[in-house]
Symmetry: C7
Subunit: 103 residues, 7 copies
């Protein structure tokens, strides 16, 4: 649990990326509500904030692969979970993100 | 499960390669259908998209070994599975791919 | 247990950061006291002191990501615990800190 | 199992070496056939194809130790097995090969 | 057990630091003697000798973080124990020391 | 088992060293034959062939520590065993050899 | 067991150091013989020979911390044991030695 009020207060350090996992649809395309057991967790997430980049051995920042607003594919496991109120977020290292989603 | 509609929306990050495993033949060369238990999983895959390359310690991109459209030999285990609808795909790191198939 | 009298005597070495975990509220916003079992440990901490930075391979100090007074998000596990009297503190490596909290 | 028809279609990536293990004699020097249990697996193999070499940290290819046609001593364990029809092959990293055989 | 007579004979090698753990008080501030079970081991130590520093990859010595006479916070576990007569000492690597104590 | 006829056909790759373990005496200095159980395995070996040296990160060969004909002390465990007929040999990496024996 | 006759025949390779552990006193300072169970193993050793130094990434030798004749503190565990006749010796890597003993 965190004491701060808004996730917007978080500024990721080094090469960390703050994401929020996309919510699975709880009803079908035709509007029928799905029973909870058939709603699967998605590996898609939205980037909320990105760190300044890690430091290479010469003290320079390594560029980040994503930016705020990007939709990304995240790995099944890993990341540091953060809970603010009822909402859940995750922090990943930049190199752990798998792909950008462009559509 | 992923919420995006087409695998074409995926842009692999860093040195990742998006592949689709080749489907095993379900009938013999002479047209006889094989029972499902004798259809083995293939380690051959088609490259659908490649990342821009990883970053070396000087911040330069390392070249990728394969390109979109290549047929490749993938390792028996490993890779990150992705499911879009009924179709399954995988993301590998470039150095995990074993060989190109040229014929 | 430590024999020194004040946490202010501690000067972290290399890339270490001395933090004190934020205390969880023991009463609700409307002033009702919470039973102890419903008070969760927070992952938020205040930076009390920072080391001079680690040494890179050329003998130069790598810059620290945080400074004294910063509020930070710390990982669920890890860090070196320090107890002075009844108060508890932790030492983390700079790269273990997850994010700054700005509000 | 692989779907391609000939092992000659395989082009090893990076520092990989495609080899075929030498077949153990199934009859003695004087022509007597050996029972299968006394035929031991050999650690000798023939190099069928070599990759272009791995990439060093400056992006240059590291030279390969062997070339197509070489006879090599391979380690007892390891390598990626490949099966084409009834024939079995292996892919090793260049540095895993133990010795060349010259006679 | 060591055969040398004085701990002063020890000259730490490379980046090692010779320390002696601070003794816990066996009586309270008001002079009441504590039963042995309530005397906790301290993580505070005094630096008795420091090595010349480790060698970086260019053969240069990396500077030490502490010097003889410093009071330091040592980790709960680790270090190489040395016993001279009834006295116990420890050798730590410089980067294992957590903080200096200044008061 | 190896199919090649002579150990002299082996050319070690990279930093590998081909050695043959010294045979323990099966009789005492005064000529009395020892029962087999009291003949201990020796860690002394003779160097039969040396590789060209490993490649450092700039693509240069690192020099080998031993040469053909040297007597060396080998570690108790490790090395790749090779059997040619009834004779046993081993391949070690150069840095695994412990010492030269000069007498 | 080793077949060579004298420990003086051993020339350590790379950064290895040949040492002989100091023998514990089997009688007290006043001349009383100690029962064997009260004679503890010492971690003090004498340096008999030192290797030329390991190779850094530029192919240069890294300097050794000790020289022949030095008395050193060795770690409780580790090192490669060597037995010549009834005498036991050990080989350590230079960086494993803890301290020099000067008295």
């Amino acid at each position: 649990m965190a004491a701060f009020k808004s996730i917007k207060s978080l500024v990721p350090l080094l090469d960390r990326v703050l994401v929020q996992r996309a919510k699975a649809e709880t009803k079908t395309a035709t509007g029928i509500f799905l029973p909870e057991s058939s709603v699967k967790e998605l590996n898609e997430a939205k980037v909320l904030a990105v760190g300044p980049g890690g430091l290479d051995r010469d003290g320079k920042r390594t560029p980040m692969s994503v930016q705020t607003g990007d939709r990304v594919l995240i790995p099944q496991y890993g990341g540091s979970p953060i809970k603010v109120g009822e909402d859940e977020f995750s922090l990943f290292r930049d190199h752990e993100l798998l792909a950008k989603i462009k559509e």
